[in-house]
């Protein structure tokens, strides 16, 4: 008996969803390397964050089922790893939180992985603001609603106004401070995102 395997199995059973769960929801946390995405996911997740990956051949859209192995080998593949955690909201709704790298190749997979996502949190390290520019640009491009959360590593040198300016942030996009190590703080980031989505929805209805 391999105890490591049986432990893992037992852990998964403990973490099983209710039989009534029938609606999965997605929120994506995007940010540069080491900014604290996984820390934030871990702070609020009911399961230990898991890691998986997706691969896509560069010419992937063109491969058909007859392409076979030769076809696979001939293409260069893009591989993106991401972490995720889970929050059971009620008997039916389960929220999955994805920690995703903001680097360029990741965005090739955005539609495949994250279409239908509720929204995104751009997690910013105030010492490396430039890491967030690309993510913000891409989210705007994809039309994905987002907020910006500044992960406070202790004494940011910038005021909120300075950070907004440095990020060239639209005035309508909320900017919040957080400590990704804190469950309460991370939870408040998610609440701020959903409140923002409600505001956007209300504005959209008014505009109709």
């Amino acid at each position: 008996m391999d105890s490591a395997i049986s432990d893992a199995t037992a852990e998964r059973r403990d973490a099983a969803l209710s039989a009534t769960a029938d609606n999965g929801l997605k929120i994506v946390v995007v940010g540069g390397f080491g900014v604290g995405k996984t820390t934030l996911v871990r702070s609020v997740s009911e399961i230990r964050p898991l890691n998986t990956e997706e691969t896509m051949t560069q010419a992937g859209r063109g491969i058909d089922e007859t392409g076979g192995l030769d076809g696979l080998r001939a293409k260069t593949s893009t591989t993106v790893a991401f972490d995720f955690g889970r929050i059971t909201l009620d008997a039916h709704n389960v929220l999955y939180l994805f920690g995703a790298p903001g680097q360029e190749r990741f965005w090739f997979l955005w539609d495949r992985l994250f279409s239908g996502t509720l929204g995104a949190v751009v997690l910013v390290d105030p010492r490396r603001i430039e890491d967030s520019w690309y993510a913000i640009d891409r989210l705007e491009h994809h039309g994905t609603p987002f907020i910006v959360a500044r992960n406070d590593f202790g004494g940011s040198a910038h005021t909120a106004a300075q950070l907004r300016e440095a990020l060239d942030l639209d005035p309508g996009v909320p900017l919040v401070d957080c400590d990704a190590r804190s469950r309460e703080s991370s939870k408040n980031v998610l609440i701020a995102l959903v409140e923002h989505l409600k505001t956007l929805y209300a504005a959209q209805e008014t505009a109709k």
Binding site: R12, A16, L17, S18, A19, A21, D22, N23, G24, L25, K26, V44, L50, N51, T52, E53, E54, T55, M56, T57, G60, I63, E65, G67, G68, L69, G71, L72, R73, T79, A81, F84, R86, I87, T88, L89, D90, N93, V94, L95, Y96, F98, L113, F114, S115, G116, L118, H142, P145, R183, K187, L190, I191, V194, E195, L197, K198, L200, Y201, Q204
Partner: protein
């Protein structure tokens, strides 16, 4: 932690899916589609398929299945399509609007209530 798929030779992934590199274009499996087994594994069944059926006695998201099997999401989707076609699993797809439209305010309210209760 070792990364699923990365250490596998293309040959293994090829064998798993009988050479298909992606599921059908209309493959309905979202990352958070919840999968439920409709029957148990049968003797001689491909081990990955049997593992999925055991894992999905209770609803389990596609992304959790991929992580557990240490397979890329796209390969997992192909295996799930086969099981769905064979009637061995059912799929509970997300109700949130796909694409760029904002989600239903009722759903947003349910999410808020759930988050505040954490």
């Amino acid at each position: 932690m070792s990364r699923p798929g990365r250490d596998d030779s293309p040959d293994r992934l090829y064998t798993l899916t009988q050479g298909r590199s992606r599921s059908a274009p209309d493959a309905p499996f979202d990352l958070v589609t919840l999968v439920v087994a409709e029957s148990g594994p049968t003797p001689g069944m491909q081990s990955e398929l049997a593992a999925i059926l055991r894992m999905c006695e209770l609803p389990t998201a596609v992304v959790e299945i991929a992580a557990e099997l240490r397979l890329p999401v796209s390969i997992t989707r192909i295996l799930l399509s086969d099981l769905l076609d064979a009637g061995r699993i059912s799929a509970r797809h997300p109700r949130a609007a796909a694409g760029h439209s904002l989600p239903d305010p009722d759903i947003l309210e349910q999410v808020l209530v759930g988050l505040r209760n954490l």
